[in-house]
Symmetry: C2
Subunit: 389 residues, 2 copies
């Protein structure tokens, strides 16, 4: 049960019951996102814990930091998923009590599917993550490969694909599941009936490539996207290294940014001279994108001759969009000193891990967010939730 809080701090989803039959990233993230807004989320695992209970990274004790991170603030039950009687206990958990939402990444057991559950409780909402919409298998890494991004990531000219390390499609799919679930919950509050929601990882990736214009470009133009390193496509942005070896990302989105960047770097006259001599212009993002090599050559020269502290001050004075590259190691250093500055983090004492800073929800409601809570042990809430009848 959530700790006693001010009424406005109980969470917007207070009273929402969620049973999560899941593993890895997308479905657990859906449950986590709901739990962070106050929902009561119960994760169902096979006896002994699911395969992702030991997923890296691990604490020195062997406790999975990954599992702990994605299952904060949930309750957990463990059952023998191979036993019809045990699956029946999960069905009971879903169908007794108030209306319930099921989040799952498996259609292996018919009695835990939408059809069977909605026959017992027409108000059940069931959200299912799939690899592919046709029922085929797929994980973030295979969906990445299928969708074009690895072939346009990394240094120009290199043929090999560069996968992104962030499991971006898992993250997006988990959030789409939560959106679908809450949209169905809205309608359920009015109509009293539940819905079946499905989201396929591959659809998430292809829909995103479509929403961002990549797939339209490939259909209606003969432009071919190629790798362009850290150059931002269609406007001006790139990373630079300062005289003292600090890496910075700089982004120019507006005319004001551009003019101010030239002021900051003392390059106004140089670019005016270039524009005149070469009969080209730098006004407008298309022109800056077209002449990005020229721009980068002059800027890289300035950064290479300027120490970080000086570059940062010059850019800040002109309110340019920039950021220093930080490593995970730096973010965690000194007990997470850098993280402690933000209201996003609070200390959690996770068994097997110890006290550390863990994130709350990135969603701020009326200026506040619920404190993070530890992830549960395997079967920690069996007695509370399964064995009481």
């Amino acid at each position: 049960m959530p700790p006693e809080e001010l009424p406005s701090r109980k969470g917007l989803l207070s009273g929402l019951r969620v049973v999560e039959i899941s593993s890895y990233v997308a479905t657990p993230l859906c449950g986590l996102t709901l739990a962070q807004l106050g929902a009561d989320v119960v994760r169902v695992e096979p006896a002994g814990g699911a395969a992702d209970r030991t997923r890296w990274p691990l604490a020195d004790s062997g406790t999975s930091l990954y599992w702990s991170g994605l299952n904060k603030g949930k309750r957990a039950v463990a059952v023998d998923m191979g036993s019809a009687a045990d699956r029946g206990r999960v069905v009971d958990l879903i169908t007794r009590g108030g209306p319930c939402v099921v989040v799952s990444n498996s259609d292996r057991y018919p009695e835990l599917g939408y059809e069977a559950l909605s026959a017992l409780r027409p108000d059940v909402i069931h959200v299912l993550l799939q690899g592919r919409a046709d029922g085929g298998a797929g994980v973030d890494y295979t969906v990445q490969a299928a969708t074009g991004f690895p072939l346009v990531t990394g240094a120009p000219g290199a043929a090999a694909p560069v996968n992104h390390v962030l499991p971006a499609w898992d993250i997006a799919a988990g959030l789409y599941l939560a959106v679908g679930l809450l949209a169905a919950e809205r309608e359920r509050l009015v109509s009293g009936r539940g819905r079946e929601i499905r989201v396929a990882l591959e659809d998430v990736a292809l829909a995103t490539a479509g929403n961002l214009g990549y797939l339209a470009e490939a259909q209606v133009t003969d432009h071919e996207r190629t790798k362009s390193g850290n150059d931002v496509f269609g406007t001006y942005g790139r990373d630079f290294e300062t005289a003292d070896g600090v890496r910075m990302m700089v982004v120019i989105l507006t005319e004001r940014h551009w003019t101010k960047l030239l002021t900051a770097t003392g390059l106004t006259a140089a670019f005016e001279g270039l524009a005149e001599a070469l009969d080209i212009g730098f006004a407008g993002e298309s022109q800056r994108y077209e002449h990005r090599e020229l721009i980068s050559t002059l800027l890289a020269r300035w950064f290479a001759g300027t120490r970080f502290a000086e570059a940062a001050e010059a850019l800040d004075r002109q309110r340019i969009l920039w950021e220093r590259y930080r490593s995970f190691e730096e973010l965690g250093r000194d007990g997470g000193a850098a993280l402690r500055k933000s209201d996003l983090f609070d200390e959690v004492d996770q068994p097997g891990v110890g006290p550390h800073l863990a994130p709350k929800s990135p969603i701020v409601v009326d200026g506040g967010r619920l404190a993070p809570r530890p992830a549960p042990a395997v079967g920690e809430h069996n007695t509370q939730l399964l064995d009481r009848e």
Copy 2:
């Protein structure tokens, strides 16, 4: 207005009014996601259109494929945002009629902020995208740099950061906004009162790094993450090139996958011999991750000697998780033939672009999804929505 559809096909968010004062990716994606589920979304732009109206990629006509992709199925009004009278018309649009949700990425105009709007309509829900939670500026590229992922992406040993091309934080932030909005909408249906929701891009990135265990690892262990190319962290997965030059991603998550992969590649005896000779094991994902160089060397040899069709058949026969790398160009080729196979896409005739395949929502509701609709022209719905009083 959405076309006449079967009752179950009107969309779960039918009746939800959304006014979107936004630009670029995150907030438009929030509105798009709601529109794809049946909400009535009106995008407000400055006279002549916002800066992102010309964002690349472009069709040959100059129409932005990016803008068209992110604003499908919305209505659009254009006003002089510098004029108090025109901003008043936007306030009217929000506060007259049924309850309304505002999606915004700007806190520039106080009368369009939560405080002022909720004084007029206590049931207004207002969701605001920020760069940083402290009000500071930030875009996907700067937030990427701040959060560790570019320094662990790409080939081992290279010092330079590799940004991911997918604006993953924009995508996640847009979906978190939609989750927060729908959670507030759920509570509004019960309590009748609105809420102020805020999501900062930087918080989304840091929360995700925390949820996946990266930040806990940096705080409580002395492991330092480094670049590892396309190797999947903590388990076995990598890309390979076949004899005929096709790139494939292969992922081994379970013991069954591993055993079957050895069967598929005829390497069972080779790995048994290696295990015995070197006194090591390959059972369990931690061991396979530890010995990944060894595994990759033997597998790469097999792929390099095997043509794609043969490799694909061998892997499929053993139900291994794999995927061929595809380019955007390939996905769009022949009028999007590859996309046409999926129910996710349907034809849209976008002015300035022409007929092409555009995605529906990746969220499938009771087996169906709404057809995609074109994006609006600048001010297309001014008469309909602003000028009628």
